[in-house]
Symmetry: C2
Subunit: 344 residues, 2 copies
Amino acid sequence: MTISLDELQLAARNHGMPLELLREPITPRGLHYLLIHFDVPDVDAAAWRLELDGLVRTPLSLTLDELRACPARTVPVTLECAGNGRALMAEYSPSQPWLRDAIGTAEWTGTPLAPLLQEAGLEDAARELVFTGIDRGVQGGVEHDYERSLPVAEALRDEVLLAYEMNGEPLPPQHGYPLRVVVPGWYGMTHVKWLRRIAAIGDEFRGWQQAEAYKIDGAPVTRIVPRSLLAPPGIPDFMTRERFLHPGPCELVGRAWSGLAPIERVEVSTDGGSSWADATLDEPLGEFAWRGFRRTWQAEPGEHELACRATDAAGNTQPLDTVSNSGGYCNNAVQRVRVTVADD
Amino acid sequence: MTISLDELQLAARNHGMPLELLREPITPRGLHYLLIHFDVPDVDAAAWRLELDGLVRTPLSLTLDELRACPARTVPVTLECAGNGRALMAEYSPSQPWLRDAIGTAEWTGTPLAPLLQEAGLEDAARELVFTGIDRGVQGGVEHDYERSLPVAEALRDEVLLAYEMNGEPLPPQHGYPLRVVVPGWYGMTHVKWLRRIAAIGDEFRGWQQAEAYKIDGAPVTRIVPRSLLAPPGIPDFMTRERFLHPGPCELVGRAWSGLAPIERVEVSTDGGSSWADATLDEPLGEFAWRGFRRTWQAEPGEHELACRATDAAGNTQPLDTVSNSGGYCNNAVQRVRVTVADD
């Protein structure tokens, strides 16, 4: 594997969730994955306003206190970077070199977006809503604020939140303080951090992050495709992260999610995918959060390859092998965990 | 630059502090660098005890509440990984591929270690104290608990803390919950996380992390050598992290630290090291914390290379160029920041 200094710079700044943390339904602070395109901005929340304008009858300019005074909702949501799995592809354009751990689940607290859009009054010509962050930089040779859009119908969904708390505390600087949009079910690029403006527009948004990035063969990346991951059992080797454990019953635990439909089934293999057995699903944590699963394995001495595979209620399932695409998106191929069980 | 999948796995799990956060004297939660050799352990604090035994007259077994009832002290301490700068070396043994951002400063709260050692009563034969973490794994082919030792005289220093809070809150799981040792001035490997035992021994400790790792040509790595870093000005390019700014006065700010002596001088260059000028030092944050510095630069259109160089009161200064060593330790060569100033 050859990686550029540029890619390593990104890997050093950003980080995944160490997979042993899959034991926790809600990812503890500081362990949720993080992808920051430009810099973490230094925001003066007292001077900050959210502007809601464009094709609306009554533009709004809201302080953080005003947003906090609106009806609040708290929802556990699993986020995943659209580039998760990129570095496991045979070919891709250089970018953040994610393996499989660009994931996390937090309890997001905020106010639903739809009532604010209704208060502002979308004009009939409004087609999309553009979410603009405070963060600014250069990507693909183009200087721009980080901006992404949503079709009006998506933005009006009940579960879309303007979130000002993460796990019961104000958003940390790196997760978008003071406000980000949370679009449950969609990949992370949509959940614009450091939100400063929402503008209703009459055309298709053509900003760089929408028109140039986050596409597979020209089709936009939107909702999270199904994935499941095991918390690797036993203890690790520092460098290889291969696992070592003792023989006997071993409860394999993990979590599975899909932004397309609820998780319906998770299968586990302990022989490298030759055979599969159904895992038991935990009670759902929430409609847009990962679902725990578990299965007890009788670990016998020797080398084994563990794997898991999720299927959602719409029939989407994980592929066994990675399929490359030039942007390096949506690689939800089945995880493999190599373990060595001691003779004892 | 060629990097192995193993190294990338480490870079994805662990993370540096994004350098724009050098604007903050105390690193916000979740942004402090993190190096976890094995897994983040899942600790039941109610069942947890700190054992203090070995060559002592009265072994102690302390609960977290008992440690919290001891006299407390809060100290800002800058931590740095001994491998910071490793990936910039021409040659090194594969390990966590740090660039320059394996740093952070927190307010650590805990109880001084020395009074507890006095209460236990070190025997005359005691030569070193071995700090044992709960984390266990395989490194260099050897299965072991993470363990490091300190000579008795170092362990008895006033400023050595058993810390249970970071920035005013219980230690996060990834920083050693419920307890870690903080040894101000020393590189991060010494600040054993998830501490479960302190044992006084009569010989030199020969555990893997002490005898095999953290050595340069056989000499142990101990205290932090001087380093200074600039918060990169302007806005970044996503991939290259090169910076873009507008012409005019630009305040260059950064922080400098040394575990060997207080920072006495920081010089800044805006012409790639051809000429240097003294920066103004901020008031010290604490004896063992980084010191802010600043200098206004009249940015003129064109390409520039910024650099900074710290010198401590013992006369130690940063080298201009990287010198490799096989373990990849202590690379404190001067940082270079490429910036492009627009014509405006």
